[in-house]
């Protein structure tokens, strides 16, 4: 069973976001692995353990620092990692990102591809799904439980929907996007961390995977951000601390006449 996990880095949630010239300023940002990708990776590891066989390959698109995401995945037990890196990839929107991944996946064998349901930086929640369409394979998104059939030819996935959950059966190869609650990601181990030193991480560029310049990067984006701003400064609220009965009347009037919520 060939399991592929798509991972990426996102700014640490504790990072203070800075906006400069209408764009997010990442010069001092600390990066971590996207939390939803960690659920995807953990599920891949569990599939491999349950089946007692299989190869787990990580894949990421990003600059040099993206290798850290691959190394941390190798440290928890992934077998191999591939770094898709090219200046031409930078600034790709979800469509181009999925396209780059699909071209890379065409070069290897895969039975199941696990992605996080969305990146917590831009929250598009599209890449995994577009990827499935480009590869013409079924996908199940927002997965909270995953079972592989005995014959290893299909999966049964539970997905979270408004007010309940859906049980979906799909043939392999397929793509799933992982939702929180799918599993509890494991810690790396010291041994795992030290073993990463010996791993070779191949780098594939645009040419090697057959991505033309007009298919990726900012120029090819189907979605353009016109502007990014910080939310408006919070204005202080009004404090009412006189007579409770009178205050209640005052507040009721304000809610109706000014806030217009009544």
């Amino acid at each position: 069973m060939n399991i592929v996990i798509c991972v990426k880095q996102v700014p640490d949630t504790e990072t203070k976001i800075k906006v400069k010239d209408g764009q997010v300023d990442h010069t001092e940002t600390k990066y971590v692995v996207n939390p939803y990708d960690e659920y995807a990776l953990e599920e891949g590891l569990r599939i491999k353990e349950r089946l007692e066989e299989g190869k787990l390959t990580l894949m990421t698109i990003g600059p040099e620092r993206a290798k850290d995401a691959l190394k941390s995945g190798l440290a928890v037990g992934a077998d191999e990692a591939i770094h898709l890196v090219d200046e031409a990839f930078e600034g790709s929107d979800p469509y181009s990102t999925a396209l780059i991944l699909s071209k890379a996946l065409e070069k290897i064998d895969y039975d199941i591809v696990c992605c996080g349901k969305q990146g917590v930086d831009e929250d598009h929640a599209q890449v995994g799904i577009i990827l499935a369409e480009l590869l013409d394979v079924p996908h199940v998104s927002v997965v909270t439980k995953l079972e592989i059939a005995e014959d290893r030819k299909s999966i049964v996935a539970h997905r979270e929907v408004e007010g309940g959950h859906e049980v979906v059966e799909a043939t392999l190869p397929a793509i799933i996007t992982a939702q929180k609650g799918l599993n509890e990601p494991r810690y790396a181990s010291i041994k795992g961390i030290m073993a990463v030193k010996k791993k070779v991480i191949p780098e594939w560029n645009a040419e090697e995977i057959g991505v033309d310049k007009d298919m990726a990067g900012l120029g090819a984006a189907k979605m353009k951000f016109t502007e990014v701003t910080l939310p408006p400064e919070r204005v202080g609220g009004n404090v009412f601390d006189d007579d409770p009965v009178q205050d209640a009347v005052k507040v009721a009037h304000l809610l109706r006449d000014e806030a217009k919520v009544l």
Binding site: D68, Y187, A188, S189, I190, I193
Partner: protein
Amino acid sequence: MFNPSLSHEQKALRELARQFAQNEIVPIAAEADRSGEYPWELVEKAHAIGLINVTVPDEYGGGGLGHFEDCLVVEEIAAGCAGIASSFVTSSLGLTPLNIAATPEQMERFMKPLCAEPALAAFCLTEPGAGSDAASIRTIARRDGDFYILNGTKRFITNAGQASLYTVAATLDPTLRHRGFVVLLVPADAAGISLGKEEDKMGQRAASTREVVFEDVRVPVESRLGGEGAGFHLVMETLDKLRAEVAAMAVGVARAAMEAAVKYAKEREQFGQPIASFQGIQFKLADMAIKIEASRLLVWQAAWMADEDLRNGYESAIAKCFAADSAMQITTDAVQIFGGYGYIKEYPVEKYMRDAKLLQIYEGTSEIQRLVISRWLLK
């Protein structure tokens, strides 16, 4: 070459220990401190990811890494809880004599099974009448054919009751003082071992500290580490090798206290502004940072020397003395910055202060460290 810039793996290792401390230790530290009950599940979790037995050779089930890496881990664990860190470091103290002097047969018989599953060791040196004057121990190992008969009482033994193995410093003849020392490996289930009550300590309360009494305990001669009379040197070498880790605990506690103080100073307002805007507070915080950075580099130097098998008695004494004394000062100042709230158990800093005090006392008091340092200077 001593290199204070960390490799990718060292950073990853430190990050792993930090996550473990924040996710697994911090949530239970206050309760473990209050109850004094040892959280054994932490040993199981730490063992599973390799945060204990870091310096035990790979082929016997350890991490196969150096004291430098161990110090990176220990600092993070101690920032979570010094009591837990003390338990882990003391286990290393019990195992280090094997790393130094065990025969391959002894490594197979003792080290391998101990590292194969979540287990701890304990180091039995201190006695009711022998603290700083370690050479005056009175636990007797009387030779009887193929056995030693062990009799004596050890005091303030960390991990007593949890450990599977006691590494015991005994003497063939108290009048010989250090020349009579033997180090014996005693399984915890050996007949004749009894434990005193749990000490009700000021701090580091998560760790178990008890008396261990040996009554006619039979120890095979094959369980002796190194030669008869060579035991004192083995004990001293063990303490030298582990001293960087003890100092690393001090760095961890101090750092946790400083971080708490920084956060509080930014939030607490008096006289219409955060107290962090007052120079008096700023100077205190800066002094904390200076001491922590200096302590850490001293720890790393001492650890690096231990890994290079260089004699580091001088450097490790300086590291331990400076880091422990600094931690006491820093944690006290952290309580001060928290003001009245710092005195309340609901806030974390009073625990850091109580935990820090023991660092100046065990593993060689700050006074003994100063004696060691001055002897190096005056020889």
